[in-house]
């Protein structure tokens, strides 16, 4: 009968391409990593699942008027989702450690070196004819080294939307792999003596300082780097709600219902860019390779900056915490803590590492602003 052949021809078996099959397996791999291995599950579960949905043949999900495409269009093309996530991150972040020891901000600065060196590396691959990244794509890839998911997604959606899926997968995968990537680099660049340095107890930070910090950061951004103002502005807004003490209910919603809703929708929207036509490209291999380079260089940058600082400051810094400057909050700070205990079981570095760790978020948002300005102006 006619209808049976219609129905048969509409099955997935009849329509699936090899590429879609591969992508479904990759989606399942991401779910495995998220669920069994604990790789950034809050993002990789929705992204992985979205990636599978995006590769179901014969139905508009990540295309046309399908849900994932509508979410992509409404939330990522507009940047609304990453900006609301940044607001939630601000509401969840305690900048106390940064205020107690502002020089750790410099570690967060140095750890962004990996971003820019990687941009150069990506362009080098293009020049060498290995890959074909233009400057906007190279900039978006570099941001993986910022080790901050929403920043990477924000930049990629603006500068290289077709690479968004691969960049997000790389960013979250390497953030989850920080416990593997960082320790050998830290050990190679520091002596055991250095890793044993005990840092002075951080001072108490007043409530007023915490309230003023997001405003200070906002004003500095407005005056020096307006292109970073959407990201840093929303971070500061969330943090001001958290610290000001008079809008508890808004802060609570920003930290819970709102960020959770947006995380679910953002993850699915990112999944819409895991279609085989976007992801199964040689460029993806380049992105994965460059991403790990960016993380490694950022880690090295943070550690070396800490050693440099120790040449000039009185209160020595344990160079391990430089590695936390990449961000990957709070994973990198925990790795620093573990490395500290390994060198000296009584040395609890966690709170000290939180300083460069959250400064790294500011650092990569800064770098994002510069990328967008420069590529918009020169690229």
């Amino acid at each position: 009968m006619d209808v049976i052949s219609t129905i048969l021809s509409e099955t997935g078996f009849a329509q699936i391409t090899f590429g879609q099959g591969v992508m479904i397996l990759i989606g399942l791999t991401l779910l495995y990593l998220a669920i069994v291995r604990g790789f950034e599950p809050l993002l990789l579960v929705p992204i992985g699942f979205g990636g599978i949905l995006a590769n179901i043949p014969g139905v508009d999900i990540a295309t046309g008027d399908g849900l994932l495409y509508l979410l992509y269009q409404g939330g990522l093309e507009t940047s609304i989702f990453p900006l609301l996530i940044f607001m939630g991150v601000g509401a969840l972040t305690d900048f106390g450690p940064v205020l107690a020891n502002p020089k750790t901000i410099l570690l967060g600065a140095a750890a962004q070196i990996g971003i820019f060196v990687t941009v150069l590396g990506a362009l080098g691959l293009s020049v060498a004819g290995v890959m074909d990244f233009n400057i906007a794509e190279a900039a978006a890839i570099g941001i993986i080294g910022g080790a901050d998911g929403p920043t990477a997604i924000y930049v990629a959606s603006k500068l290289a939307p077709d690479l968004l899926g691969a960049i997000a997968v790389a960013a979250y995968s390497y953030m989850a792999l920080v416990p593997l990537i960082q320790p050998p680099i830290v050990r190679a660049l520091t002596s055991l003596e250095e890793r044993k340095i005990v840092m002075a107890q951080a001072r108490e930070v007043s409530k007023l300082e915490k309230i003023l910090f997001p405003l200070l950061l906002l004003l500095l951004t407005a005056l020096l780097l307006p292109s970073a103002a959407p990201l840093l502005g929303m971070l500061c807004f969330g943090n001001l709600m958290r610290e000001c003490g008079v809008v508890e209910r808004l802060s609570d919603t920003a930290q819970n219902a709102l960020i959770n809703i947006v995380t679910i929708l953002l993850g699915l929207a990112v999944g819409s860019k895991l279609g085989a036509e976007y992801f199964l490209e040689w460029k993806t291999l380049g992105i994965l390779a460059l991403g790990v380079v960016a993380f490694a260089l950022g880690t090295a940058g943070g550690v070396l900056m800490a050693k440099l600082l120790n040449l000039v400051v009185k209160d020595k810094v344990n160079p391990i915490i430089g590695a936390a400057g990449v961000s990957a909050v709070p994973m990198a700070a925990r790795v620093s803590n573990r490395l500290g205990i390994e060198a000296n079981p009584e040395n609890i570095l966690l709170m000290h590492a939180m300083g460069p760790n959250v400064a790294g978020v500011i650092g990569s948002a800064t770098a994002a602003g510069i990328m967008i300005t420069y590529v918009g102006g020169a690229g």
Binding site: P102, L106, L212, F213, T366, A378
Partner: protein, 74 residues
């Protein structure tokens, strides 16, 4: 279309300018943060002696000053 050399030079430019800008921005943030903390410790919390209705007056004064300054220019 640009040549490979141009592209690579752009990359070098972006790297240097980028690293420089991040450092300038974050060094300014270190300085601003230190200054704020120092000022708060030095001067403590400002007195609360202003009249509450004063803020409407203040906003009005600001708007008014601004409009007057415009008028001069126009």
């Amino acid at each position: 279309m640009q040549s490979g050399d141009e592209l690579f030079f752009q990359g070098v430019e972006l790297m240097l300018a980028g690293i420089g800008s991040v450092f300038v921005f974050l060094i300014m943030l270190v300085l601003a943060t230190r200054t704020m903390s120092w000022a708060l410790m030095r001067f403590g919390r400002a007195g609360e002696d202003d009249l509450p209705l004063a803020h409407v007056a203040a906003i009005s004064a600001a708007v008014s000053a601004y409009r007057r300054s415009r008028r001069v220019e126009e």
